[in-house]
């Protein structure tokens, strides 16, 4: 690509460096822009359009505009309301728990002890494992009869728990596993933030006679507030996208207790082939994610 452009000035009238720069800028950015348009911008626009259509993949010729019908149907659909509730429940619990665990781990491995490096690797190791692998592994671990977790509980005199088989425990089991899987990721971000807190601040606090908690409350937390904000936002967005865990572990059950927005979107789009309805779910999902991160951003600024 460079070669052809180099050849231009020598054959025709010489192009100034600045004009050459401009044209090359267009040429260099074009591949990415065309791809982004085709596979991101266009689909976003199509999602909005389809959400106002009655459109089934099995009968694409019969598609027609139906106004807000899909949205009206959506908010009267008991399964949608359940999925929304489940997704919110997961998010509201996972975000604070995971962030707190991640911060705790970061504080531990930020201490100058010999095992800190080892701890970092151990806490991060579930992150390098894909969610599908983790979900399959934990389905075995959670097994009522042969699971390692029930075996351990038995050791402490606790009777076997149904975990994924119980509508009351399934989502909590998924939450526990998800925190274990991803906390190491946020830990790394917190750790980078902690490293930037000036040592003098702690020394000054120590001179003032501050204890461990006061140092954490008055020095650490305010110094890393921008990192905390970032962690909360990415964890929230990640939480809303919950899909693989229920898909692999519970298939949305038992009795829809782990069905989520994305699960429902997938189910309607690719099992029932209902493009219109599924697109309406996608648009609502997008707006929820967008609004939540905007609200969070605003709240964190204060």
């Amino acid at each position: 690509m460079e070669k052809t452009f180099e050849a231009v000035p020598s054959t025709k009238k010489p192009m100034t460096y600045d004009t050459q720069k401009k044209w090359l800028g267009v040429a260099f950015s074009l591949p990415a822009l065309v791809l982004l348009f085709t596979f991101l911008v266009l689909p976003v626009m199509l999602a909005f359009v389809y959400s106002f259509m009655n459109y089934n993949m099995l009968n694409p010729a019969g598609k027609e505009f139906v106004g807000f019908d899909n949205y009206i149907r959506l908010f009267q659909d008991a399964i949608f309301l359940t999925s929304l509730k489940n997704t919110m429940y997961f998010t509201v619990l996972v975000v604070p728990i995971q962030s707190a665990v991640a911060l705790g781990l970061a504080l531990l491995v930020n201490k100058k002890v010999k095992v800190a490096g080892l701890g970092r690797v151990f806490f991060f190791s579930p992150v390098v494992t894909s969610m599908v692998v983790v979900a399959i592994l934990w389905t075995f671990l959670y097994n009522v009869d042969s699971g390692l977790i029930n075996h351990m509980l038995h050791f402490f005199g606790i009777e076997n728990q149904p975990f994924l088989l119980s509508p009351d425990q399934a989502m909590n089991s998924i939450i526990f596993m998800s925190v274990w899987q991803a906390a190491g990721f946020q830990m790394m971000i917190f750790l980078a933030g902690l490293k930037e807190v000036p040592e003098e601040l702690y020394e000054a606090a120590e001179v003032d006679g501050a204890n461990v908690w006061q140092k954490f409350r008055n020095v650490t937390l305010p110094s890393i507030s921008h990192v905390t904000g970032f962690v909360l936002i990415i964890t929230t967005i990640q939480a809303f996208r919950l899909f693989i865990q229920p898909y692999v572990m519970t298939n949305g059950g038992p009795s829809d207790s782990t069905k989520t927005l994305v699960f429902m979107l997938y189910e309607n789009g690719f099992q029932f082939r209902d493009v219109g309805y599924s697109s309406a779910i996608a648009v609502v999902f997008f707006l929820i994610v967008l609004l939540s991160s905007l609200i969070l951003k605003k709240a964190l600024k204060q």
Partner: protein, 281 residues
């Protein structure tokens, strides 16, 4: 003196906490690998602490899923490795060129384009899943490699990552190249690329790890066994109850190995990618 002992106790507490919690974090993975090396009958017999120690080590489970006709896991690994490598390769070229153009070659509208690209980063993939499927289907790519590769080459996140790095390259370097008579294209190749190796490494690793773990998209566009990827492959193994546990454990371990290798060898860039995206943004 009292201060010294207090510090020592603190250190011991921290060390013990790290070791105990560390075991809890590594235990499921340790079990996965140990079980993959055990004969089938021992996997659910060895409970408690013996679950984490290898016994009667055998590589049968690996041989079964890799080299028999029944499960073609080797082929799934290849499909994933090939498609993800293509995304990384083309992605590095396309995204770095775009970032360079937007940051250094500024043309009319380039500032606006940059804002749009950053805004696109907030679109969750799931919300474009169905229309993207329809677009890809209209190209006739369902169950073909391009479906797994082409939509992910351009990445708003990677363009942003490159932009952050390129902005930090001193203007003097480019000006010197310009005075030497280098064209903007040559400047990119001779000045920008050699000075940006860390960001190329970071982008490559993050892209590889992200797409190696992809599940939802291959699940819907790569339904044919000939193009099935690892993540979908293990889900099929898991859902097919006739398969033995040891073999699933071997498959889970194999799926994890490439990312573990990357983590071990490129830990610095990997972690840099995670943190640089956050702390600055």
């Amino acid at each position: 003196m009292r201060h010294q002992t207090k510090k020592k106790i603190g250190k011991i507490t921290v060390t013990l906490s790290i070791l105990v919690l560390g075991f809890l974090f590594i235990a499921p993975l340790l079990w996965m690998i140990t079980a993959s090396l055990k004969p089938e009958t021992l996997i659910f017999k060895d409970m408690g602490i013996s679950a984490f120690f290898p016994k009667d080590v055998t590589f049968n489970n690996y041989a079964e899923i890799l080299f028999t006709d029944r499960v073609n896991f080797f082929h799934y690994m290849w499909n994933s490795l090939f498609s993800v490598s293509m995304i990384v390769l083309f992605g590095l070229i396309v995204n770095s060129l775009c970032a360079y153009a937007l940051v250094k070659l500024k043309f009319p509208g380039s500032a606006l384009i940059l804002i749009v690209i950053i805004a696109l980063y907030v679109v969750p993939f799931e919300s474009v899943l169905i229309p993207l499927y329809i677009v890809v289907n209209s190209f006739g790519w369902i169950n073909e490699y391009p479906a797994l590769i082409v939509p992910f080459i351009a990445s708003a996140f990677n363009i942003f990552l490159f932009r952050q790095f390129f902005m930090g390259i001193p203007k003097e370097l480019e000006e010197a190249a310009m005075l030497d008579g280098a064209s903007p294209g040559q400047t990119f190749w001779r000045i920008i690329v050699p000075n940006s190796k860390p960001v190329f490494a970071t982008a490559a690793i993050l892209t590889f790890v992200t797409h190696w773990s992809d599940f939802m998209w291959p699940l819907i566009v790569a339904t044919d066994e000939s193009i099935r990827t690892v993540q979908v492959g293990i889900q099929y193994l898991f859902a097919d109850r006739t398969i033995e546990y040891g073999q699933i454990m071997a498959a889970l371990s194999l799926t994890t190995i490439p990312v573990i290798l990357i983590f071990i060898f490129f830990q610095r860039y990997y972690v840099q990618g995670i943190t640089s995206s956050g702390v600055k943004g």
